[in-house]
């Protein structure tokens, strides 16, 4: 993984001191609330329902065991002993005291971490594929490019006061696991007809109250132009994006207003001026970034260990876990292991300090000390030998981390909702709980198979409800919490926005309605058809009829 040099370390160290001074000026009254707000937001600090919330950046989701131990330490020392992994591959602490935040940042800086640009109207953490570097369908590891973008975007002098926040995702595989189509810029590594690898560039995707799938403005961008092209996009956006209405300020609105083709032309015109300038990447810069993302030294006889198959045949619980929580690895005999942070009764994405420490230790023992945060709010140990899987599973089980539900109904994406967030209209965590209580039969869940439920407590869509196979949006109706369901969304290569099922339903009915939707699916599905495929084949009517007919 990327290792800071003196330059990187100087920047985070100086940032700690700068924020310490800003916090001091705020507490002493030199800075008003309004003046402090953008400063603290550019450091990921929100003032929330109960206390400040601090969002710490985890660039493209990659953590070392040492970093995860530091997060565990911070959760205990400054918070209530847990942290919340977010859909942006970051971690959030919900209870730090404002005056301790500079100390938290100082602790983070000792392990090459920070909270820079995790909020605010600036370029946010660049996200990527949780199986980057290990997936079989990968053309090239996207993370070196994420790191190049991270450095270029950090304290970018021109783009720190954009019309609105700006999110970039990079995917390097055939299967898009980075939801690149719903980002302000989505980059796909592709090869052209000459066999050269470059990027396809999408802009203007995004969720929120006006969801859009990204539009392609360039089929093939040579790697050396990565930064100049992004800078051109950002410059057009910074100059011409709307600033009069916060709900129309994202780049997706600009792209939609001027049109995909015209927007592309404006970008290309700007790019012509700068493409051969200082932003042009030399091969040695790309090679430098790549040098940090080499493969560990794998055991070349890992595949010879047969114990894995033997235990699977004799242990149903382990077998179920292996079926859902393993992802194929490019090296024979290895697997990427997904650790579920969606155990019943736990707020999706939450982990205690003790769990974090334990995962850090397990990653040292079994996975070269690497951990990856997924945008589905789970954690991945990317390189585990099959012969170690049973021991790992047992150790995870002790920590309530072995729920075998990855990709299943209970592997929900869920924002913090009304329980923590000051923007929310409705609770998300209580709905997750309700769903977990109703669907507690593992055999049923495995039978239903792949199903992505995504839930947001308000239209800002932090829970990505638009792209859930079943999306749940909390709304406020005269002071009561109601839930609007959508069907058929997807954030993968076949990206689509969900269709509205019908009138919002009462809080107590959410899990029951999901049950009714699944009844329809079970009745109509053909062979191995997943919920999403059945929905796309039969349309919304039978689902609608079954939910609303009886009412």
């Amino acid at each position: 993984m990327y290792k800071y040099d003196d330059y990187d370390q100087a920047i985070v160290d100086e940032r700690v001191e700068q924020f310490r001074d800003q916090t001091r000026r705020f507490i002493s009254g030199d800075l008003s609330d309004d003046e402090f707000r953008p400063l603290r937001l550019m450091n990921g600090l929100y003032i929330q329902t109960h206390a400040p919330m601090l969002r710490v950046a985890i660039p493209y989701g990659l953590l070392s065991s040492k970093q995860l131990r530091m997060l565990a330490h911070i959760s205990r020392k400054y918070d209530k002993g847990f942290g919340h992994f977010s859909t942006r591959q970051n971690i959030q602490f919900n209870w730090p005291a404002l005056e301790t935040v500079p100390d938290i940042l100082a602790d983070l800086a000792t392990v090459e971490m920070h909270a820079i640009q995790t909020s605010g109207n600036c370029i946010r953490n660049t996200t990527s594929d949780q199986f980057a570097g290990v997936a079989k369908d990968e053309l090239e590891d996207p993370r070196p490019y994420c790191e190049i973008i991270r450095q270029w975007s950090t304290f970018h002098p021109e783009f720190s006061f954009l019309p609105r926040k700006f999110k970039i995702a990079v995917s390097g595989a055939e299967g898009d696991r980075a939801a690149a189509m719903v980002h302000d810029i989505g980059l796909y590594l592709v090869s052209n007809d000459k066999g050269e690898v470059g990027f396809t560039v999408f802009v203007g995707g995004g969720l929120g109250r006006t969801p859009y799938i990204g539009k392609c403005i360039r089929d093939f961008l040579e790697k050396k132009y990565l930064l100049s092209y992004i800078e051109a996009i950002l410059r057009v956006y910074n100059r011409f994006g709307r600033r009069d209405n916060i709900y129309k300020a994202r780049i997706k609105i600009l792209v939609n207003d001027v049109g995909q083709e015209e927007f592309g032309k404006q970008v290309e015109a700007e790019w012509e001026h700068i493409k051969e300038g200082v932003l042009k990447l030399e091969q040695k810069e790309i090679d430098y970034a790549k040098s940090f993302f080499t493969s560990p030294i794998y055991d070349d006889v890992a595949a010879d260990d047969n114990s894995f198959n033997e235990v699977k045949n004799s242990n149903d619980a382990f077998s179920n876990w292996a079926k859902r929580n393993l992802y194929p690895h490019k090296i024979p005999g290895y697997h990427a292991v997904v650790i579920s942070l969606k155990a019943p009764g736990i707020a999706p994405g939450d982990a205690t300090g003790e769990q974090m420490d334990s995962i850090a230790n397990l990653s040292d023992q079994y996975s070269f000390g690497e951990i990856i945060v997924t945008h589905d709010q789970n954690l991945v140990l990317p390189h585990v030998k099959q012969g170690d899987l049973f021991l790992l599973w047992q150790a995870l089980d002790v920590q309530n981390l072995a729920t075998s539900n990855i990709g299943l109904l209970t592997d929900m994406i869920c924002c913090p909702g009304l329980d923590f967030c000051s923007l929310a209209n409705a609770g998300s965590i209580p709905i997750a709980k309700q769903i977990n209580e109703k669907f507690d039969d593992m055999d049923y869940l495995h039978d239903i198979g792949d199903l992505k439920i995504k839930m947001s407590g308000c239209v800002n869509a932090c829970g990505h409800h638009h792209v859930g196979h079943i999306g749940i949006l909390g709304v406020d109706k005269k002071g009561e919490e109601f839930y609007q369901l959508t069907l058929g969304g997807s954030s993968e290569n076949d990206a689509s926005l969900g269709d509205r099922l019908g009138p919002a339903i009462a809080k107590t009915e959410v899990a029951n309605v999901i049950g009714k939707l699944l009844d329809v699916y079970v009745k109509l599905r053909k062979e191995d058809e997943r919920f999403l495929e059945t929905y796309r084949r039969v349309g919304i009517k039978p689902f609608k009829d079954n939910v609303y007919a009886s009412n």
Partner: protein
């Protein structure tokens, strides 16, 4: 009035006029005029004045200044509210693309914690918001000892400095 110029606090007599009818008589003295007014009265102004100072708000396209760019000794860039970042792009374009060598002055909601970014974009003078302590605001220029990007103030990107040792 005091402004920060080239990292020092100086006394300055330029006064900024934001609103003026295009048909109004040309104001006397050292005034920074709205670009639209300046354009309307261009010929007369070029005849009568030696030094020209204009003010542009974020919606003026930088390209529209090009014909007369050599006439200006001050271009004031507006920050009506600190969150409005359009003038950062204007500044870089004026410096880096159009090679403007005169003074670029930030006016409006200009605060300590934005100065670092402004200076990096090529702004060299700052009219700090009235109610703020200008001496303290100077600290905002200390910023960071290291920068990842090349910009108007620094054309060497970090990749060159690193030399991939």
């Amino acid at each position: 009035m005091r402004v920060i110029k080239d990292r020092s606090i100086i006394d300055d007599d330029w006064s900024l006029i934001r609103n003026i009818e295009s048909s109004a008589p040309i104001p006397e003295g050292d005034v920074i005029l709205p670009f639209v007014f300046w354009q309307t009265n261009r010929d007369q102004l070029l005849k009568t004045k030696k030094s020209h100072a204009i003010w542009i708000d974020g919606s003026i396209e930088t390209e529209s200044l090009l014909d007369d760019i050599d006439s200006f000794s001050i271009i004031a860039l507006d920050f009506p509210i600190f969150k409005d970042g359009r003038s950062y792009s204007h500044a870089r374009l004026l410096r880096e693309r159009y090679n403007y060598k005169g003074e670029l002055r930030a006016v409006g909601d200009v605060l300590q914690d934005q100065l670092f970014f402004m200076e990096r974009c090529g702004i060299d003078s700052f009219q700090i918001r009235d109610d703020k302590d200008i001496e303290q605001a100077l600290n905002g220029l200390k910023g960071f000892s290291v920068r990842y990007q090349a910009a108007a103030d620094d054309t060497i990107p970090i990749s060159e400095r690193r030399k991939f040792k």
